[in-house]
């Protein structure tokens, strides 16, 4: 008894263990790897053809959306199939806010594109918050099914609100993005190392910046007080509440944040297509298939892992793009007939199989595989201490 008594408690220990994560070799390797990834991403427009850049941009759209969903489903434990709806919400909000005023058929507010982007993100967050009362009452598969209804709501809205979306037949072009007067178009002569930086390259850098911001914000939140509250709610609601977390607020917050991410991905989607076009059926740009694709990304990447979501998005959104590029190169038919093996169909099979493999053999997804490799590299000592 006396040994413990002399070890002075709470007040002032002489040598408390360090709460800081160790900055060992592995830590530096990790930082260096991220730096390399970033540098490569910055250099790619100087080397890649426009269509490959387009494919890369689409992967970044997926990355932003997937990071949002992994926060909600992986960190806060709320299954959502509504992601595609919030993509549509962001896409529409951006197009309307930045659209020209005075068009008799189409509503537009003529806002600066940056303001319109921020506004679209905010509107998506508010819509997510509006769904929070439902999210607070349901869980698991019930929440998933309830959230799916939003996708159908979106389908109806996209077709009915023609003065916002332009309708299914023609759609509506979004305002071209510009940042403090700098246009993300072919306007003006801009060169880096003799390579002209035109619309595709500029949009690549815009998307890269948005992805990096989305990534860093999510990492910060996951590592901090907010992420801790989300995980607590996911793992044990009563314990979370007793520790001071308002379960309802934490869930609503996660929904708002995730919807904001989806909204941003929606803005990126219209900028990528250069068109806002509502779907004609429940499958399309903002359909059920998209909600499921986002779930696939975060499951393959490892639920709750932000880097995992990023990699999952590169695979799931990248594969159809890359296949499409190769199919023209290899002279495949990209036919649209009923039985055509389209790149989208093939990649659906591939990521369907990937999900089954992950669920069967590594429920922690790519993130867990990455952790295991890191553990091997740094030897047993670290494995014992965890990472």
């Amino acid at each position: 008894m006396s040994e413990i008594a002399t070890k002075s408690p709470p007040e002032a220990p002489e040598r408390a263990p360090s709460p800081k994560p160790r900055r060992d070799a592995l830590w530096w390797v990790r930082k260096a790897l991220w730096l390399v990834v970033l540098l490569v991403a910055l250099a790619l427009p100087l080397y890649l053809e426009a269509e490959w850049l387009k494919a890369g941009q689409y992967m970044m759209v997926g990355a932003v959306g997937a990071i949002g969903l992994t926060l909600l489903t992986g960190q806060a434990g709320q299954l959502s199939l509504a992601h595609a709806f919030f993509l549509l919400a962001g896409a529409t909000a951006y197009t309307v806010l930045s659209g020209p005023t005075g068009d008799p058929e189409l509503l537009g507010f003529g806002l600066d594109p940056l303001l319109a982007l921020l506004g679209a993100v905010a509107i998506s967050a508010v819509l997510g918050l509006a769904f929070a009362p439902v999210a607070g009452r349901l869980r698991g598969i019930y929440l998933g099914v309830a959230s799916l209804s939003l996708v159908f709501l979106g389908l109806y809205f996209g077709q009915a609100a023609e003065n916002l979306t332009g309708g299914t037949s023609t759609g509506r072009p979004p305002a071209e993005f510009s940042l403090f007067g700098f246009p993300f178009s072919n306007e003006g002569d801009l060169e880096i190392l003799g390579v002209p930086i035109r619309e595709t390259e500029r949009v690549w850098y815009l998307f890269l910046a948005l992805t990096v911001i989305a990534f860093l914000l999510a990492r910060g939140a996951v590592g901090g007080r907010v992420g801790r509250a989300w995980r607590a709610v996911r793992d044990n609601e009563p314990a979370a509440a007793v520790m001071g977390v308002s379960v309802w607020r934490a869930k609503a917050g996660a929904f708002a944040v995730s919807s904001a991410y989806a909204g941003l991905a929606g803005v990126m989607t219209v900028l990528w297509f250069d068109l806002l076009k509502p779907d004609e059926s429940e499958f399309g740009t903002y359909g059920i298939n998209v909600s499921i694709a986002y779930l696939a990304m975060i499951i393959i990447g490892g639920l709750g892992s932000v880097p995992g979501a990023l990699v999952g998005a590169l695979l799931v959104n990248g594969l159809p793009q890359v296949l499409a590029l190769y199919s023209t190169e290899l002279g495949w038919s990209t036919g649209t007939g009923e039985h055509a093996f389209t790149p989208i169909l093939i990649s659906s099979f591939v990521y369907g199989a990937a999900i089954i493999l992950v669920v069967l053999f590594e429920p922690g997804g790519l993130a867990a595989i990455g952790r295991r490799i890191a553990g091997r590299l740094s030897g047993k000592q670290r494995e014992r201490n965890g990472s």
């Binding site: 008894m1 413990i4 008594a5 070890k7 002075s8 408690p9 709470p10 007040e11 220990p13 408390a16 263990p17 360090s18 709460p19 800081k20 994560p21 160790r22 860093l216 914000l217 999510a218 990492r219 910060g220 939140a221 590592g223 901090g224 007080r225 907010v226 992420g227 801790r228 509250a229 995980r231 607590a232 996911r234 793992d235 044990n236 009563p238 314990a239 979370a240 509440a241 007793v242 520790m243 001071g244 977390v245 308002s246 379960v247 917050g253 944040v257 014992r384 201490n385 965890g386 990472s387």
Partner: protein
């Protein structure tokens, strides 16, 4: 720090026709180590859940100083200075020890998605300060070497200590401990008993301790309340309670049943 009194008054809690708590009253005097004991299913955890606002009492009130806890939502309790551990530990197994204990600092810290996401200087400073405190608490409880280990990788005795550390991290003036020694061996139990006693002495807080093990409780408690089938069958200093024939009967009865 002035420690308020916890008062449970005539609390009845029903699950359908089952009386989990039947007209239960008890008072935890400021700064005392109060034990709540009783056989399996006596209603001890239910009593904790009523106090922490997780269950709503059908009748009766619970007050903590001036606060009426029966009208308080559970997440407000940490801010009033009530910390609690759980019979089943209720931790996040994939998160590290430090991360789990830091959850106890939730009510003492600030910052939402943007300030955490942007890693604003004040958020980081606050996080660092509180992490140091959490590490101190872990060190005090003998789990300081495991700060960065996932809770799921620890032996059960250590897991229970993480839960205790998290409850202490709230900086409570009242600590509710639900079977902190459950599933730990005899040596660990004795050490834990003395740790709990030290916490009370050094921090001057009140502790309400649920324990199965009569021996552990009798050595350290100032006062003991005994529940059986949701009713209080004895309440007093350990020596009196131990001699109470009804307590002996309840305990012997259940012990025989367990042995058989």
């Amino acid at each position: 720090m002035t420690v308020p009194e916890l008062s449970v008054r005539d609390v009845t809690l029903r699950f359908g026709g089952l009386y989990a708590l039947d007209d239960v009253s008890l008072t935890v005097e400021p700064g005392s180590l109060h034990a709540l004991i009783g056989p399996n299913g006596a209603g001890k955890s239910s009593c904790f859940n009523v106090i922490s606002g997780l269950y709503r009492a059908n009748e009766g009130t619970v007050t903590f100083g001036d606060h009426d806890l029966t009208r308080t939502r559970p997440h407000r309790l940490a801010r009033m200075g009530i910390g609690r551990s759980f019979q089943n530990a209720a931790l996040s197994p994939h998160s590290t020890v430090l991360d789990n204990v830091m959850l106890g600092r939730f009510a003492l810290t600030h910052g939402g998605f943007l300030s955490c996401g942007l890693r604003l200087p004040w958020t980081r400073r606050e996080e660092r300060k509180h992490a140091e405190r959490a590490a101190e608490i872990c060190d005090f409880l003998g789990i300081g070497a495991e700060l960065h280990a996932p809770v799921g990788s620890l032996p059960y005795g250590a897991v229970k200590r993480v839960d205790l550390a998290r409850a202490l991290a709230v900086e409570p003036s009242l600590l509710l401990l639900d079977e902190p020694a459950a599933g730990t061996n005899a040596a660990e139990t004795a050490e834990l008993a003395s740790t709990i006693h030290d916490i009370r002495d050094e921090l001057g807080i009140s502790i309400l301790l649920v324990e199965h093990d009569m021996g552990l409780v009798m050595g350290i408690a100032d006062r003991v309340t005994v529940l059986d089938f949701g009713r209080v069958i004895a309440d007093g200093p350990p020596a009196d309670v131990q001699a109470d024939p009804e307590v002996v009967r309840a305990y012997l009865g259940s012990e025989n049943a367990e042995a058989g």
